[in-house]
């Protein structure tokens, strides 16, 4: 994929939080909510979206370059701050793309202000207790094994992360600590969210890698059931992180979905 030029960095103050973000492109705005392992700066999927949209990729407080907030206790706290970030950026209505854990945050945001969400894209979202199986528990596996489990194929992981640096390992440990601080119990889901998603009337696209080893497919069906206007797409040959493993395929699903009225 051709790289969209012009990624800029910024830091926005929201209710005492300093939220770092990267942004590029022009067009109708899309906010991307990242995984529990944080996000790489550059991804083909982000570039592809930025060709036709204004793409905003914030770092959640405590992840990446956004400082930690000691008081945060729930992903809903992150969602409120992301809502605040949107206001701070002057974005009235926009699309949300939630990746894994970020899908949970996106779901919470949509329940808070349903009319502010034009389209909701959830890629392997956490946040709902899977009716069958469990969300993979990073607490008992290593720093490298967990992100590797996001991929169908090892080579997809290696292509992006190469020989994992100690800086990256440290960042994953910090991200893991944040996940524990706000989503320890119940682990990576809300017992309330499925009952609240009914208020979200916006069109929703749920995307699942057919080899998602992190969030069981049963959760995809639970999301589809909870969201009034959702469709589910399965991407072949992909793990949990469809945006990293199958960026072209995901873009082909997401861009037309965002373009529909």
């Amino acid at each position: 994929m051709a790289s969209a030029k012009g990624w800029a960095e910024d830091t926005i103050e929201v209710s005492g939080a300093r939220i770092f973000l990267r942004r590029a492109g022009t067009g109708s705005p899309v906010v991307i909510l990242h995984h529990d392992i944080g996000t790489l700066d550059n991804l083909d999927f982000y570039d592809e979206l930025a060709k036709s949209h204004e793409v905003i990729v914030p770092h959640f407080p405590g992840w990446g370059k956004s400082p930690r907030l000691e008081w945060m206790r729930h992903p809903r706290d992150v969602a409120v701050l992301m809502q605040g970030l949107k206001s701070g950026l002057g974005l009235a209505q926009c699309a949300l793309v939630g990746l894994g854990f970020g899908g949970w945050v996106a779901g919470e945001m949509a329940t808070m202000a349903p009319r502010e969400v034009s389209k909701l894209v959830l890629v392997g979202p956490m946040g709902i207790k899977p009716p069958e199986g469990y969300i993979l528990d990073q607490a008992i596996i290593s720093y490298i094994d967990y992100p590797q489990a996001f991929f169908h194929e090892r080579k997809s992981f290696e292509k992006l992360y190469g020989n994992v640096t100690t800086d990256q390992l440290e960042a994953w440990d910090i991200a893991r600590e944040m996940s524990f601080r706000i989503a320890w119990k119940p682990y990576m889901y809300s017992q309330q969210l499925p009952h609240l998603l009914g208020v979200v009337k916006a069109p929703a696209l749920i995307v699942w890698g057919d080899d998602n080893k992190v969030v069981p497919l049963s959760a995809a069906h639970a999301y589809k059931k909870a969201l009034p206007n959702a469709r589910l797409e399965i991407v072949k040959g992909s793990g949990h992180a469809v945006e990293m493993e199958k960026p072209t395929e995901l873009a082909k699903l997401v861009i037309p979905f965002l373009a529909t009225k």
């Binding site: 607490a139 008992i140 720093y143 100690t166 390992l169 994953w172 440990d173 524990f180 601080r181 320890w184």
Partner: protein, 413 residues
């Protein structure tokens, strides 16, 4: 000198081969390998050992707890403490300790400990610990708030022990509408609190700030000296001078009538494949948020197999050579103990006397030799070296009860 006996209460009858095949002997190693018939035998053998300890005149029995692993069978330290409160008469019951952060209701702990103190007629020493990393996972308690919960639970337990109820507690991690336990400790102002640890700086500093004795768990002489340097410095900052009454040490010492038996039995100290707590994934022992952020970088490298365990891994022979494990006849181990006393100057000493599959007969003989041949000499030397226990020194239970604090120097404007 306060001298204590300690056993991990090893589940020595588990299937070792199954552990090696599984590749772990902790947390997720299936409890289908736990045989309650053997468990029943072993619990009763440990009780027999504790009674022998009192019989041979040892000062105290040190107890602890761990979960989900064969290296330690005691899942609730207050259980044996309660039993000992009833069946012994003289020994101090030294819990090292109750894992505070695992408690969802610290008031319940305060009640249990008060009961033990009253039933034992004031023989409780109530140590507290953070709990191992794996314990956070087995108990489902958030490791990221471990230290905060430890401090808040401690403060709440002490308040429940020392201030008349009812009162309300609205904390960060604990909220209680009515704190008003109808069981308070016999010892005043409250039972002595000792804090065991390996080398975590934050814990050493906190312990010195409370003026609680710190019990170094079988650390090397060099590391033990570093712990005392940090403790002493913190004590000075708090306005008191620390000494042997603030220092405890847990040593692994096995004695027998002959050297060959002693060394053979001492080898069992490494029965958990050389690790105290068995084979486990590094992230189980140190879940994110549990350890000091200052060691994050070195830990993540260790956890993915890029570096050696920062704690080091010594062979049995190396440990015997360095004195980390002592084994022999009483006459053979005594000079080693003397060296340890001179170098680290503790006023409290616990002896972890055997582990693994040492027979009950040899365990009881070891306790007998400790009580009759080793400890009398250690007591003599302790007098000579001025190594007074907190009891002998009549040390304050907590900094707040100190009468000898030097006024803190006021920083120049």
């Amino acid at each position: 000198m306060h001298l204590m006996y300690f056993t991990e209460q090893p589940m020595s009858a588990y299937d070792e081969k199954a552990g090696l095949e599984y590749g772990a002997t902790a947390l997720t190693f299936s409890n289908k390998h736990f045989d309650p018939v053997e468990g029943s035998r072993l619990y009763n053998e440990f009780l027999e050992q504790y009674l022998k300890v009192e019989e041979v005149g040892i000062d105290g029995i040190m107890l602890n707890e761990h979960h989900n692993a064969p290296f330690c069978m005691q899942a609730k330290t207050n259980m044996f403490a309660a039993i000992l409160a009833a069946v012994t008469k003289k020994v101090k019951i030294v819990i090292l300790g109750n894992p505070l952060p695992l408690a969802e209701n610290p008031i319940r702990l305060a009640e249990e400990l008060a009961m033990i103190d009253m039933i034992s007629k004031g023989r409780l020493v109530s140590g507290f610990v953070r709990g191992g990393g794996q314990e956070q996972l087995s108990a489902g308690v958030n490791p990221a708030f471990n230290r905060e919960r430890f401090v808040e639970a401690h403060d709440l337990v002490v308040k429940a022990w020392t201030q008349p109820g009812p009162f309300r507690h609205e904390g960060t991690h604990y909220q209680h509408r009515v704190v008003n336990p109808w069981a308070v400790p016999l010892q005043k102002p409250y039972p002595r609190v000792w804090i065991p640890g390996v080398i975590s700086k934050e814990t050493v500093i906190w312990t010195a700030q409370q003026r609680y004795p710190y019990i170094a768990l079988n650390t090397s002489i060099e590391d033990t000296k570093k712990i005392w340097a940090l403790y002493d410095q913190t004590a000075a900052e708090c306005g008191y001078e620390s000494g042997p009454e603030n220092r405890g040490y847990l040593a692994r010492i096995h004695v027998a009538d002959d050297e060959a038996t002693a060394v053979k039995n001492a080898r069992e100290f490494t029965w958990m494949q050389g690790e105290f707590t068995g084979l486990a994934h590094p992230v189980w022992a140190n879940p994110a948020g549990y350890f000091s952020p200052s060691s994050r970088r070195s830990f993540v490298e260790f956890a993915v197999g890029r570096s050696q365990n920062p704690r080091g891994a010594m062979s049995f022979e190396q440990q015997l050579e360095s004195g980390m494990i002592m084994a022999g006849t009483p006459k053979q181990v005594l000079p080693r103990i003397r060296h340890l006393l001179e170098e680290t100057r503790p006023g409290i000493m616990a002896v972890w006397a055997q582990d693994g599959k040492v027979s009950q007969k040899d365990s009881l003989r070891c306790i007998e030799l400790l009580g009759t041949e080793v400890f009398p000499q250690v007591r003599e030397w302790s007098k000579e070296l001025g190594l007074n226990s907190p009891f002998e020194a009549d040390a304050p239970v907590h900094l707040n009860y100190s009468k000898d604090l030097k006024k803190k120097p006021v920083a120049a404007e």
